[in-house]
C-alpha cells in the first residue's frame, strides 16, 4: 500500500526536485544561468510528463486500489503539455525590467529583489498539486493537493506585476480562496461523518451500502453539496465565479493563462473523484439533490459567463468570462458520468487548455510601451502590422467557440454526445444556445484583427520584446488545425479504463451483509 502511494507520486517527485534546483538557480549571480531558469523548469516538467506513461502502466493501474486509477496518466500528460506551453509564454517576461537594468549596468544583481526562480517554483508546485489531485485516494490527500494547486497561484498573482491592481486581486483571490477551502473542508468533514472513512474507495462502498439500505444519508448529500460548491471556486463555476474576472484582469497575462487552466483542471478532477464516490452506483444516476445542484451550476455558469463576456470592453475580462462559461460546458461531461462523460471532460480540458493558452499567448506577444494591452479596440486591424498574431488569435478564438474543423469543435462535440447519451438533452440544448451566444464575442475577436481597419489607438501596438509568446501563439494556433487529424489517437489516450459497473458489483456483493457505518 505504502509502496503503491510512493510509486504513483514519482512524477511529482521529479517536479519537486526541479523546485529545489530552480529555487537556487534563480538566486545565482550569473546572468547566463539565471536566463536558463525557464528552460530548466521545462526540462523537469517534460521529465514529469514522460514519467507518466512509465509509472501509470496498465499493469500498475489495474493493481491499484484507487478510485479512478486511470485518471492519472491522461490528466498528467495533458497538464504537462499545457504547462510547457504556459512556460513558453513566460520566457523572458519574468523580472524583465530588472534583468534589463542589470544587463545595461544600471543595477547590480540582488537576490532580495529577484523573483525569477520563485515564479517557476510556484508554477511547478501548482502543477505538482494538480497531479497529486489525480492520484488522491482519500479526502485529506485531496484537500492538501487542491490547496497545493491553489496556494502558489495566490502568490503568483501578487508577484506577477508591480501594480496595485495585482496586489488587490491577489488579496481578493486569497481571501475568497480561503473561504472556499473552508467550505469544501466542511463538506469533507460531513462526508467523513456520514461514512466513517476518509478513503475514497471505502467511502464509495459505504455510500453504496447506504443506497442499498434505502437512500444515501442526508448528511452525506449535504456534505457533498458543500464540497462541490467549495471546489466550484477552483473551477470558477457559478455561484463561486465572481472573483474570476477581477483576478484574471489584475494578474499579468502569463499568470492569467495559468489561472485559466491549472486550478480549473484540479477542480474538474476533484469533481470527478468526489462524485464517483456517490454517483453512478450500480449504474444508477446521481442522487437527485446533487444532480439538481450540478444542473443549476452548469446552466448558471454557462449563461452568466457568456452574457457577461458579451458586455466586456477589456480583452482579458472577456477571456476571463469565456473561461467561466467553459467551466459550464465541462460540467456537462461531469454530469454525464464515467465512461463517455469523463473521457469527454479530459479531452475538453486538453482542447480548452491549448486554445485558452493560445489566446493569452497572443495577448502576451503584444505590448504598448512595455504595458499589456487592455481594450478590445487595441486589436483592430492587427493583421497589418502583426499578421501572425492576428491569425493566431482568430484561430484560437474560433477553437474556443467550437468552429467545426478546429480542435475545439471536437472537444465540444464529445461533451454534447456524452450529455445526450446520458439523457441530459435539455442541458445540451442550453449549452448549444450558449455556444451561439458566445459566437458573438468570439467572432469579434476573429473579425476585429482580421477585417477592421487599424485605428489610431491600435497603431501604437508593438510586439513584445520576447519572441517566445508569439511562437507559442502561432504554434498553438497551428495545433488547432493539425491536431484534429490525430483526434482518434488523443481520444484513445483520454479514454478512462473505468469499470464502474464491475466495481459496483464487487462492492455490493462484498458489503451486502455488513451494516452501514453511517446513519
Amino acid at each position: 500500500m505504502m509502496m503503491e502511494k510512493l510509486w504513483f507520486v514519482i512524477p511529482e517527485v521529479v517536479l519537486l526536485a526541479g523546485v529545489v534546483i530552480v529555487a537556487i538557480l534563480g538566486l545565482v549571480s550569473s546572468t547566463w544561468l539565471r536566463s536558463r531558469v525557464p528552460w530548466v523548469t521545462m526540462i523537469f516538467v517534460i521529465g514529469a510528463g514522460v514519467s507518466f506513461p512509465l509509472v501509470f502502466t496498465d499493469e500498475a493501474v489495474s493493481k491499484s486500489t484507487m478510485l479512478l486509477p486511470g485518471l492519472g496518466r491522461p490528466m498528467g500528460m495533458i497538464a504537462c503539455v499545457i504547462a510547457v506551453c504556459l512556460l513558453l509564454l513566460t520566457v523572458g517576461r519574468i523580472d524583465r525590467k530588472y534583468e534589463q537594468a542589470i544587463a545595461e549596468g544600471r543595477d547590480r544583481f540582488d537576490p532580495l529583489r529577484s523573483n525569477k526562480g520563485e515564479y517557476y517554483v510556484f508554477f511547478m508546485l501548482s502543477l505538482a498539486g494538480l497531479m497529486l489531485t489525480c492520484s488522491a485516494n482519500d479526502l485529506i490527500w485531496l484537500f492538501l493537493a487542491l490547496e497545493l494547486t491553489s496556494l502558489p497561484t495566490y502568490v503568483m498573482v501578487a508577484m506577477s506585476r508591480g501594480s496595485r491592481r495585482a496586489q488587490e486581486s491577489a488579496m481578493k483571490y486569497f481571501f475568497l480562496g480561503a473561504m472556499s477551502a473552508a467550505m469544501f473542508l466542511y463538506g469533507f468533514a460531513l462526508l467523513y461523518g456520514a461514512t466513517g472513512t476518509v478513503e475514497l474507495s471505502a467511502m464509495r462502498d459505504a455510500l453504496a451500502d447506504q443506497a442499498a439500505d434505502g437512500g444515501i444519508s442526508m448528511l452525506a448529500v449535504v456534505g457533498m453539496m458543500l464540497a462541490l460548491l467549495g471546489i466550484g471556486f477552483k473551477l470558477a463555476a457559478a455561484p463561486m465565479h465572481l472573483y474570476a474576472a477581477d483576478v484574471y484582469e489584475g494578474a499579468a497575462v502569463h499568470v492569467t493563462a495559468v489561472l485559466g487552466f491549472i486550478p480549473k483542471a484540479g477542480g474538474a478532477v476533484a469533481f470527478m473523484l468526489l462524485l464517483s464516490t456517490m454517483g453512478w452506483l450500480d449504474g444508477a444516476a446521481l442522487p437527485m439533490p446533487i444532480l439538481i445542484l450540478l444542473w443549476v451550476m452548469a446552466v448558471l455558469t454557462m449563461t452568466l459567463g457568456n452574457i457577461a463576456a458579451l458586455l466586456q470592453r477589456s480583452v482579458k475580462r472577456m477571456l476571463a468570462y469565456s473561461s467561466i462559461s467553459h467551466s459550464g460546458y465541462l460540467l456537462i461531461g461531469i454530469i454525464a458520468g464515467p465512461g463517455l462523460g469523463f473521457s469527454a471532460v479530459l479531452l475538453y480540458l486538453f482542447v480548452y487548455g491549448l486554445a485558452n493558452t493560445g489566446a493569452f499567448a497572443v495577448l502576451a506577444s503584444l505590448q504598448r510601451e512595455g504595458r499589456e494591452i487592455e481594450s478590445i479596440d487595441d486589436l483592430a486591424g492587427l493583421r497589418q502590422k502583426h499578421p501572425g498574431s492576428a491569425i493566431a488569435l482568430a484561430i484560437t478564438s474560433g477553437s474556443l467557440l467550437g468552429f467545426p474543423p478546429l480542435l475545439g469543435f471536437w472537444g465540444k462535440l464529445a461533451l454534447f454526445i456524452a450529455g445526450i447519451a446520458s439523457g441530459h438533452i435539455v442541458l445540451v440544448l442550453i449549452a448549444a444556445i450558449n455556444s451561439a451566444i458566445s459566437a458573438w464575442y468570439y467572432l469579434r475577436l476573429v473579425g476585429l484583427p482580421l477585417m477592421s481597419e487599424p485605428s489610431e489607438r491600435s497603431e501604437t501596438i508593438d510586439r513584445d520584446s520576447s519572441p517566445w509568446p508569439r511562437f507559442t501563439a502561432i504554434g498553438l494556433a497551428a495545433s488547432m488545425v493539425v491536431l484534429p487529424i490525430f483526434l482518434a489517437g488523443i481520444q484513445d489516450e483520454t479514454e478512462l479504463p473505468l469499470t464502474s459497473d464491475e466495481a459496483d458489483a464487487v462492492a455490493l456483493t462484498d458489503d451486502a451483509d455488513q451494516d452501514s457505518s453511517g446513519f
Binding site: V20, A23, I24, L27, P111, L112
Partner: protein
C-alpha cells in the same frame, strides 16, 4: 541485526514503568512551580506599599514624556526569522526518533544504508532551503 550497543542497554537494570505514572512527579512539580510563582506575585502585591501619582504611572522613557504607543509595527525580518526557525526546529524534532533508531542498526548494513540515504535526502533538502534563505537575505540585519 542489532548493534552490540543494544545488548549492553538491555542489560542495564533500569525499569521503565509503563503508563503515565512516570509523569506523575512532573505533574506535581508543575503544580508546585505554579503555586510558587502565584504566591510570590500575590504576596509581594499585598506586602508592598501602594503610592499612585500622575508622573509615576507614566511608562519609563528615560525621563521624557512618553511619545505615542509602544505597540508599533516592527521589522518584517522578525517574522521571516520566526518562519525559518519553525522549518528548522520541526526538522530537528523529526530527527530525534530517527537518531535513536538509526544507531541501533548494524553499521554498513543494507537497512542502515536505507535509513542513512533517506535522512540524507531530508537533510540535504533542508540545507537547500537554508542556502535559499541565506541568499534571500533572511539572516542580514544591517
Amino acid at each position: 541485526m542489532m548493534h552490540a550497543r543494544m545488548h549492553a542497554m538491555t542489560s542495564l537494570p533500569l525499569v521503565l514503568a509503563s503508563g503515565l505514572t512516570d509523569y506523575l512527579p512532573i505533574a506535581i512539580l508543575v503544580i508546585m512551580a505554579i503555586i510558587f510563582a502565584v504566591v510570590n506575585i500575590i504576596g509581594a502585591g499585598i506586602l508592598g506599599p501602594k503610592v499612585h501619582g500622575e508622573a509615576k504611572e507614566q511608562s519609563y522613557e528615560s525621563g521624557m514624556k512618553p511619545v505615542g504607543t509602544a505597540r508599533k509595527r516592527f521589522n518584517i525580518r522578525f517574522y521571516i526569522l520566526a518562519m525559518t526557525f519553525l522549518v528548522f526546529d520541526i526538522e530537528i524534532i523529526f530527527l530525534y526518533p530517527w537518531a535513536v533508531d538509526f544507531t541501533q542498526l548494524e553499521p554498513q548494513s543494507e537497512e542502515s544504508m536505507i535509513f542513512f540515504g533517506r535522512i540524507l535526502f531530508f537533510i540535504l533538502t533542508s540545507i537547500v532551503a537554508y542556502i535559499y534563505a541565506w541568499k534571500k537575505g533572511v539572516f542580514r540585519w544591517d
